[in-house]
């Protein structure tokens, strides 16, 4: 098992066989048919990942938007959830240009979108007042790209769990992992490595749950992470079932019938801002619970206020939604269902430039892994697929331009051995609990109000200490009931989860202000004077702790600036 080692050699290694990886592989193959592409996927290729579970549509610039691309960018800079004005506005502009053409390109590549009876692409205005519209996709949207990638001859290593990046002289030269079914150790040499592994979301039972392995590996390889503090999210949900309710957070009421949104002077119709969450918590504390969503307060005509899906909903998605509704314990006839919030703190923070290059040579990042790290800030709630597709295309083109000059690097066998041992050492642990017990404990812990919407320097320090305590103990705490791929993966997920969460909360402590979706109780206001900066983190420190530093945003160079920007310290 572990002593069996399989080595592969390839030109471009794509880690993650979801939409981003599939689109990149297909595009790269069409530009460079002789380049060997290997895809690592921990599940089975063709129907895995978030696209099939949560994808409904993708954003597109309406042709009518014309040259409103700047207006579009302005909108994103001023309102984006990743921290207002923290955009890399160069990247944003390139990303928005892609928004004009990528749907059509995907369609040529085999993607299926909703169409009007006359054959034109059907898109509808999803967001009131916004200059983008959305096209609908179906549950199996990803499948044509995956099929084309297979037909193109790519090597697809299914049931292969990526664990670490191989480096030599500061450059990435390959990766290691293991087969989830056979537990065989796998080593891959590659000229270029693309990470397409989705975000790190430590919320268990969340449909978007995803391990930290990718970030931990990139971090260990020396990659910079950016905007780590900019992804906390709340969704309104039915209490207990956790099923999301979109577009009705502004009619949440307490038992007295008071509208909470108005009572606490909330502003945003799109996102659940922290003021609303604190308000809801306060109401419950005061005994005004339970909280309900009062549908009777919604306008009669559904003009943009009742959520996303106005367009032509595709067949399987419609059927699936109806199927699922049949099993959920939701009484649709109840006009005032009890609600709560579903909270997630995750990171999408791999820093990339416009081409998708990370700060480590030969390491690239695409998709949800980079949505915050690229700092484009143009993510619309629900456009994860758009990010995946756009970045997949942009980076495929960039790799095609330089792959001919790329060379294979040498593997450091000592490093391979170190990683190999770290994968299989969990088999020796003799603790009482399973790794997933500890994972669930941590997942519950970080959702506590004092570490979430009421976090302060003191509470975050406390959490970091707790995480460090768990790390010092977990090898004695857990065992693997079976030494199989599933539990080996869980042990790795636990280790990387602790490391990345510790890093995250150290970053949270650093930014002493609140901005966008990042909020803290001890610094509730936005501070442009001191904080028009990116907080960056990498592992290049002397004491082994995360190296956290800042980079000034070149706001004077950018088209969109906050008020009073002239007072901000210039370089």
């Amino acid at each position: 098992m572990e002593n069996n080692r399989i080595t592969y050699t390839t030109d471009v290694l794509v880690v993650g066989g979801g939409l981003a990886g599939a689109v990149l592989a297909q595009k790269l193959h069409s530009l460079k048919p002789d380049v060997k592409i290997t895809i690592l996927e921990k599940g089975y290729f063709g129907y895995t990942g978030q696209t099939t579970k949560a994808g409904h549509g993708m954003c597109i610039m309406s042709p009518e938007a014309g040259d409103e691309i700047y207006a579009m960018c302005k909108e994103q800079v001023e309102h984006n959830p990743y921290g207002t004005y923290l955009n890399d506005q160069d990247y944003l502009l390139e990303y928005q240009k892609e928004q004009y053409t990528y749907i059509q390109e995907l369609e040529r590549m085999g993607g299926k979108f909703s169409h009007n009876p006359d054959g034109t692409l059907h898109h509808h205005h999803e967001f009131e007042g916004k200059k983008i519209s959305a096209v609908q996709i179906d549950v199996d949207f990803m499948t044509p790209f995956c099929k084309n990638v297979m037909a193109g001859g790519a090597q697809i290593l299914e049931r292969t769990y990526f664990t670490d990046l191989l480096t030599k002289d500061g450059k990435v030269v390959g990766a290691v992992g293991f087969n989830l079914d056979t537990t065989e150790f796998i080593v891959i040499r590659a000229k270029e490595v693309v990470l397409a592994m989705n975000e790190f979301n430590p919320s268990c039972r969340d449909m978007f749950v995803a391990p930290a392995t990718g970030y931990a590996a990139a971090y260990e390889a020396g990659a910079q992470l950016r905007n780590v503090e900019h992804l906390t999210e709340w969704d309104l949900c039915y209490r207990n079932t956790g099923n999301f309710l979109y577009g009705v957070h502004w009619v949440v009421s307490n038992s007295k019938g008071e509208n909470i949104f108005r009572k606490y002077n909330c502003q945003s119709l799109e996102e659940l801002e922290v003021t609303l969450i604190r308000g809801m918590a306060k109401e419950l504390e005061m005994g005004n619970g339970p909280l309900v969503a009062d549908f009777t307060q919604l306008p009669k005509a559904n003009e943009g206020a009742d959520g996303f899906f106005h367009g032509i909903e595709m067949k399987q998605r419609l059927e699936l939604d109806e199927f699922i509704r049949g099993f959920q314990n939701i009484d649709l006839s109840n006009p005032k269902p009890e609600v709560s919030v579903s909270y997630r703190v995750s990171i999408r923070s791999l820093r990339i430039d416009v081409e998708g290059k990370t700060t480590v040579p030969h390491l690239w990042g695409i998709g949800q892994m980079t949505t915050a790290g690229s700092a484009h800030g143009s993510w619309v709630h629900g456009d994860g697929l758009g990010v995946a597709a756009k970045t997949g295309l942009m980076t495929a083109r960039a790799i095609a331009k330089r792959i001919d000059e790329s060379e294979l690097g040498e593997i450091d066998e000592a490093q391979v051995e170190k990683f190999r041992r770290r994968i299989y050492e969990a088999a020796e642990y003799k603790g009482e609990f399973r790794p997933d017990h500890v994972i669930r404990y941590i997942s519950r812990l970080i959702k506590k109000p004092e570490y979430s919407f009421n976090k302060t320097d003191a509470t975050m320090t406390e959490l970091i200490e707790e995480l460090q305590d768990v790390r010092s103990k977990y090898k004695d705490l857990i065992h693997l009931p079976k030494v199989n791929g599933h539990y080996l993966a869980k042990a790795i997920e636990l280790r990387t989860m602790i490391d990345m969460l510790e890093m995250m909360f150290m970053v949270f402590k650093t930014r002493t202000e609140s901005r966008g979706c990042f909020s803290r109780l001890d610094y509730p206001e936005r501070d442009d004077k001191h904080w028009l900066k990116w907080v960056l983190v990498d592992n290049k420190s002397e004491d082994g702790k995360p190296h956290i530093f800042t980079e000034r945003i070149p706001i004077e160079r950018y088209p969109f600036k906050p008020e009073g920007w002239q007072e901000i310290a210039m370089p």
Partner: protein
């Protein structure tokens, strides 16, 4: 951290089962689930829900199963409700 913190409240866990009398061995559940809930026995050609604790209630396995062999029973309580749980309102 207290050891009791590591124990799961069964009300907050999903339960997933595959009826072996109905399973047709088509592997659709296994290909669909990206949370590794299912385990495939290549000899018996049978799928089992070996890790129901990983289930996120996306229901796609149930949707695609041609035999109707899969049952996903959702947890009675949210995994962690940061509004009601701190106030003990779910005990």
């Amino acid at each position: 951290m207290r050891i009791t913190d590591l124990q799961d409240d069964p009300r907050r866990m999903n339960n997933v089962t595959v009826d072996p009398d109905l399973c047709m061995g088509c592997m659709k559940c296994i290909r669909t689930c990206c949370y590794d809930v299912y385990e495939w026995d290549p000899v018996k050609k049978l799928s089992t829900a070996a890790y129901p604790e990983e289930c996120v209630s996306c229901y796609q396995c149930m949707y695609f199963c041609p035999a109707g062999a899969i049952k996903v029973e959702e947890a009675k309580l949210a995994f962690y409700d940061q509004l009601y749980d701190p106030l003990g309102m779910n005990d």
